[in-house]
Amino acid sequence: MKVYSIYILNKAGGLIYQNDVNAGLNKLSANDYLVLAGTLHGVHAISARLNPTINGKDTTSEANASPNAQILTTGRFQDSNGNRSGLHSIETDLFNLYVFQSLTGIKFIVITSPNPVVYNIQTVKKREDVIASKGELNKSYEEANGVFKQLYVIYSDYVMKDPFYSLDMPIKSHLFDAKVKELIS
């Protein structure tokens, strides 16, 4: 899996960081990047509303409130991904897109190379081959999650602890840039 591009969106859907770490995507104009970010934010919010309900009860708010309550009661580590009911990933022939959302609503979006082509899943006779090909698809999802975790750590270190950064504004920290580059390579 090759990471093409990293976006960070603030909780209102504004693009605060955009970095094409590897060549592979067409360049857009600065305005188009903002539109793209806004669109993804909107699609994410809509998909969160498309959740099934249990006996007419809205489950989305509970799904999003529970991780904090769990952390407080058990004190145990929870998955840092607060993206429980929204858009998780888009897989196409040309690219894959993954969305990670922190509990405070910051969205990290990573665009990667597409899934490796798996030939003839139906016609494979040996069982191990099927398992292997399934693992291949799952692997890129896991890998993306690994990237998100480290990205989140770098973000909380080099952006949140920088006194010259104002919340929800574009990230200009050159230390953050350097660390992102380090993470991807």
Binding site: K11, H44, A45, A48, R49, T60, S61, N64, A65, S66, P67, N68, A69, L72, T73, G82, N83, S85, G86, Q101, S102, L103, T104, G105, D157, Y158, M160, K161, D162, P163, F164, K172, S173, H174, L175, F176, A178
Partner: protein
């Protein structure tokens, strides 16, 4: 009591504060609603209050004043909380300052008081029998570069150098200053260096050891060490005279 008509009392102590206001959805962000308030709800406050680890009153039995000052145990604090605190210190000083130079002076002043106190504490912990006061410039610099640095930042400073041109100038060099590890200075702030706080610590310690000096922090990045900082120590002229009278 309904949730709307609660007005937070201006209570004298946090323990009398009743916490029961606002959002029921809890903390965090709900993609379909938007950012929820991070305020404490009845549900979460119950959880917070029932846990023994959280004390709302600052006068607890294990405050810093109740501990043995001479303890050999190294008290470590979280780098994250230190960074957040320092972040706010810089913000606060920046808000009050008139310019970049003024901001550096303010940070220096805050560090100065720490340096003064920490020198005493350090000497006290060395023990009455083994402790000695350094009286030569090179000795006191080695002490600051070594023992003193280690007890504050957990590591020895990287280099200690003497200026080639000016006799009363020395340099302590740290490749990654702990305090400004996460801080990147925007371009329009010129040559501001938040390690001025650390320079203040050095200055305070030197001054109370009666080595009067001016200490300033300068960024001198190297490959692989973008935060490398040189602390330029400029001793008072009278000190050089004192040194030459005593030891030559």
């Amino acid at each position: 009591m309904s949730n709307e008509d609660i007005i937070l009392p201006s209570a004298s102590s946090l323990s009398t504060l009743s916490i029961s206001d606002i959002s029921r959805t809890g903390f965090g962000y709900n993609p379909s609603v938007g950012p929820a308030s991070n305020s404490i709800t009845p549900e979460t406050s119950n959880i917070l209050l029932n846990r023994k680890t959280i004390t709302l009153t600052p006068t607890s039995a294990n405050s810093i004043y109740d501990k043995n000052i001479n303890s050999k145990k190294i008290n470590e604090i979280s780098l994250s909380s230190l960074s957040f605190l320092f972040c706010e210190i810089v913000n606060w000083s920046h808000k009050n300052s008139k310019g970049i130079q003024d901001l550096e002076t303010r940070l220096n002043g805050l560090g100065y008081q720490i340096g003064q106190r920490f020198l005493e504490l350090n000497k006290l912990r060395e023990g009455f029998k083994t402790s000695k006061r350094e009286i030569r410039i090179i000795e006191v610099l080695q002490f600051i570069h070594g023992t003193f640095w280690k007890s504050i930042f957990g590591k020895v400073a990287n280099e200690l150098e003497k200026s080639q041109d000016v006799t009363n100038e020395y340099m302590i060099i740290d490749n990654v200053p702990l305090i400004s590890k996460f801080i990147s200075i925007p371009k329009d702030y010129g040559n501001l260096n938040c390690a001025a706080f650390m320079a203040g610590i050095i200055e305070g310690a030197l001054d109370s050891a009666s080595f009067h000096a001016d200490v300033t922090a300068h960024s001198v990045p190297l490959d692989g060490f973008p935060l490398r900082t040189v602390f330029l120590i400029k001793f008072d002229e009278s000190l050089m005279i004192r040194e030459s009278l005593r030891f030559s």
